[in-house]
Symmetry: C2
Subunit: 211 residues, 2 copies
DNA sequence: CCATTCTTGTGCAAACAATCACATAAAATG
DNA sequence: CATTTTATGTGATTGTTTGCACAAGAATGG
């Protein structure tokens, strides 16, 4: 179970499995075979088994996987057996939607503080009654509330500077919604949620198709 | 220039290059070397050259790439030298944020119609004055407005049904924001924008790190 | 309790992707 | 105009990821 030997695509798929299993559990399904789980997630059955095999033997031959048990194991692997405290930076349309998004909380992710550079916004409260803080308060609040994940929802022009502040405040992992590649020092992680990159991908395929 | 031989990761990177080049052009940079472009996008310089080489010889040896020219070529490859008309389904917090998001329009993507199942929402107007249509109008409007891309921002429970309606209406490509894998018939494309999968990835790495 | 059925776990080969390293060509220099 | 410098384009190499195919283990049924 060496950290470095596990494909990053495996981690992404574990996340999908976790969601599918949650769904199955709600549907009162107790046991699932790799075929079915694979189909639900749009992957190859052998891939499901191989992904899981990196971390242990969770199934029963001739039977399948116990839904509840497998879900528990996957959540443990991903670190979802706890709450994660997040800071949101950038209270625009997108930022507001993210705070209001109930999926995060359901999965154990919580915005415990929100920030913006705009002095007109600082001091106001969100519909959720959360106070909008200025960037000067970032470090103190990150430390006080033990925030571990930063979510950047600023315009692209401010994203890199924001990332630097987050790093300085002691945050190790960033989810970036700004359409720009952020440079991070060694040992820090950024992951990008990039709407237009995805759309460009669709546009490319539609364009090819038509040729 | 065989369609099938081009790595999908290359397409994703072309999208990043396109954005970086746009940025450089605004900064009055006329010529860029693969090193610099690679650094800006967080990839290997050889990769930049190889990605571009799939589609032609756009650079000048000993010099680099002409920013404006390369941007033009990449946009042509991706199909960004035109407007793309999109339909949005699901007018919740996220949907509203997407419609208001000005990055889409800047890149040539436009929401020309919005839909929701909720009868209380149908008939109302967005802040942008766009009318919210019912799902029964989907097919007619998709045809009338020649919509080619569908964006799903419904709850997970409605996503698959929505996708079916979009397919029935003649839409070939879907961008799905709902946290669920959507099954599509052969020849149709879905791409997912999945916040919690990304967060799970961060959580995993933070968890490993700590061990 | 043996045979059959089922489904996992995994060695291996194939497909795919990233990187290196250098030949190639253009420009700059003296 | 020969030499040096620079940076592209690409064949070769290395590394990673996926998928097949089957042995291994567990349940079922006669």
């Amino acid at each position: 179970m060496k950290f470095s030997k596990i494909p990053s695509a495996t981690i992404t798929r574990l996340s999908l499995y976790s969601r599918a299993l949650e769904d199955l559990m709600h549907g009162q399904v107790n046991i699932i075979a790799s075929d079915k789980l694979a189909q639900k997630c749009g992957v190859n059955p052998a891939q499901v088994r191989k992904d899981l095999a990196y971390f242990g033997e969770f199934g029963v031959r001739g039977v399948g996987y116990f839904v509840k048990e497998l879900l528990f194991e996957i959540k443990k692997i991903l670190g979802l057996n706890r709450r994660w405290r997040m800071a949101l930076i950038g209270i625009g349309n997108l930022g507001l939607a993210l705070v209001a998004h109930e999926n995060f909380l359901k999965q154990g992710y919580e915005f415990v503080a929100v920030f913006d550079v705009d002095p007109k916004k600082v001091g106001r409260r969100l519909p959720s009654m959360q106070m909008i803080h200025g960037m000067d308060e970032l470090e103190a609040i990150v430390k006080e509330k033990q925030i571990e994940i930063g979510v950047i929802a600023t315009p692209a022009s401010q994203a890199q500077a924001t990332a630097r502040l987050l790093v300085a405040a002691g945050i190790k992992a960033i989810l970036n919604f700004a359409p720009v590649q952020i440079q991070m020092p060694e040992g820090f992680i950024v992951d990008n949620v990039d709407f237009t990159v995805k759309l460009d991908n669709l546009a490319y395929h539609l364009t090819m198709e038509a040729v």
